[in-house]
């Protein structure tokens, strides 16, 4: 079977009239990156907090942290997307729910998508942070408290600075994951890169050109993320502190 490639389609005008298909896809990449970045900032904050709380000596705090992690780890991402998009506005007070639903596109899907990705990723970051803290020798915490630091100070000055350096490599793969996972937002109507490749395929009937272009853009994005994180790793490295030898992990 022959498939007639027609790469010039990338430079033809898309039906919306905003420019070429290539431009259309690049704007999609912009939405992918903005969504991923916004979610990443929130995820890092929540993940660091929850991960740290799960290593404290207070059983109820640990239990609450575990509950949070188990809930958002055991529900598929697309179902969580639907919960934020369809269910959350109905459970809020009526006025708030209506306000969310009446937001003009793409905000009505952008905000649920960011919240969903942020919570979903925060759980995975919390796991990494907890593992990073637990991989430190116990003596570090004891030495901190022996010097008269409070628990909070020991975390702030002794434990967390080391733990974060240790978990940088797994955080790199999480930051790539959040870029990839943002594609699930197309199911709630966010026209990010994959969504636009799909739309381009529907408008132009050029199936493989559309998906090949999106694939290449994702590969370049990944490369940039990996290089940036590697530069960061080099910059913050403490001589003699060995980074975690990545144990094999399940992922997607």
């Amino acid at each position: 079977v022959g498939y007639n490639w027609h790469w010039k389609v990338l430079f033809e005008t898309e039906p919306g009239g905003t420019g070429s298909y290539l431009h259309y896809l690049i704007v999609g990449l912009g939405w992918t990156l903005v969504t991923a970045l916004a979610a990443w900032v929130i995820a890092l904050a929540i993940g660091a907090l929850v991960g740290t709380l799960r290593t404290t000596p207070y059983p109820w705090v640990v239990r609450a942290g575990n509950l949070y992690v188990e809930i958002f780890r055991n529900i598929p991402l697309i179902v969580q997307m639907f919960l934020w998009f369809f269910v959350m506005p109905e459970l809020l007070p009526q006025a708030w729910g209506d306000w969310i639903k009446q937001m003009p596109p793409p905000w009505s899907s952008f905000i649920p998508a960011v919240l969903c990705l942020a919570i979903f990723t925060s759980v995975r970051i919390a796991e990494q942070v907890r593992a990073g803290i637990n991989s430190l020798p116990r003596g570090q915490r004891m030495a901190g408290t022996a010097l008269g630091l409070t628990l909070g100070q020991a975390y702030r000055h002794v434990i967390l600075p080391q733990a974060f350096r240790i978990i940088l490599p797994p955080l790199t793969s999480e930051s790539m994951n959040i870029v990839k996972n943002s594609s699930v937002a197309l199911t709630i109507g966010l026209l990010e890169l994959t969504g636009r490749a799909r739309a381009m395929q529907e408008f132009s009937f050029r199936v493989f050109e559309a998906f090949a272009a999106a694939t290449v853009i994702y590969l370049i994005t990944n490369l940039v993320v990996v290089l940036a994180m590697r530069a960061l790793e080099r910059k913050v490295r403490v001589p003699g502190l060995i980074a975690a030898a990545g144990a094999p992990q399940a992922g997607h």
Binding site: I78, V79, F86, K180, S183, Q249, G251
Partner: protein
């Protein structure tokens, strides 16, 4: 507004006999195929023959760099062409959402199982391979009887955790309108306009199954840790 959880009871048969059966069958088939292909890929990646390891490495890295949703779209449109190429037909072969999903998830998960199996094979001491060769076993015999059984046992918890993720990820076949558990629920939800009830129910069911499985994996992990 009023909630109507009765809709779940009304559509119970459709949700589970049709939807959940699709989801579970797809998970089991993709797990089996994915582990078989993944193990072969891992052996290729660890091969001393460069072109083979580069080919396998390229495939694995490509699959791991692009979103699953995009991979699902790729295969949905690509499989008819591959089918025509294999059977020699001059028109793309018609392939349903089910067959497309099975092929997609097998090929996609193989890349992830490959990385797990690669770590598993590398966790077996080199001396064991040499001992196998010294006993006169060839490569395949050494792999099948010495290395892989140990690699599987060492990696069993991670393989199962990956399978739980696979179970959750099969819900993405929603994008090609397949009737998996989520697809079935979504069709009922849109027909009866009961989105809140249905999606909440779907989340609860996925949570119960995934969480129970993860408890099983945790117990297995503890037992294996003692054996070692």
């Amino acid at each position: 507004m009023g909630f109507d959880f009765d809709v779940i009871q009304r559509s119970w048969g459709y949700l589970f006999r049709e939807g959940m059966t699709f989801t579970v069958t797809l998970t089991l088939l993709a797990m089996t195929g994915g582990i078989v292909f993944g193990t072969l890929l891992a052996m290729m990646r660890l091969s001393a023959f460069k072109p083979l390891s580069i080919l396998a490495g390229g495939y694995v890295n490509l699959m791991r760099s692009i979103p699953l949703v995009l991979v699902i779209f790729w295969f949905f449109f690509l499989v008819p062409y591959i089918g025509a190429w294999v059977t020699g037909a001059d028109q793309p072969v018609k392939v349903g959402a089910w067959m497309s999903a099975v092929i997609t998830f097998t090929m996609f998960e193989a890349a992830y199982y490959c990385e797990i199996m690669r770590a598993g094979i590398q966790s077996v001491a080199r001396g064991q391979v040499w001992a196998g060769y010294a006993l006169g076993l060839n490569y395949w015999q050494t792999m099948a009887q010495v290395v892989l059984p140990q690699a599987f046992r060492n990696m069993l918890p991670v393989l199962l955790t990956q399978t739980i993720i696979l179970f959750q990820d099969t819900s993405l076949v929603y994008v090609i309108s397949a009737t998996d558990f989520l697809g079935a629920a979504s069709k009922v939800a849109n027909r009866d306009y009961r989105l809140v009830e249905m999606y909440t129910f779907v989340a609860v069911v996925y949570f119960i199954i995934s969480y129970s499985l993860s408890l099983v994996v945790k117990r297995l992990q503890d037992r294996i840790a003692i054996i070692r």
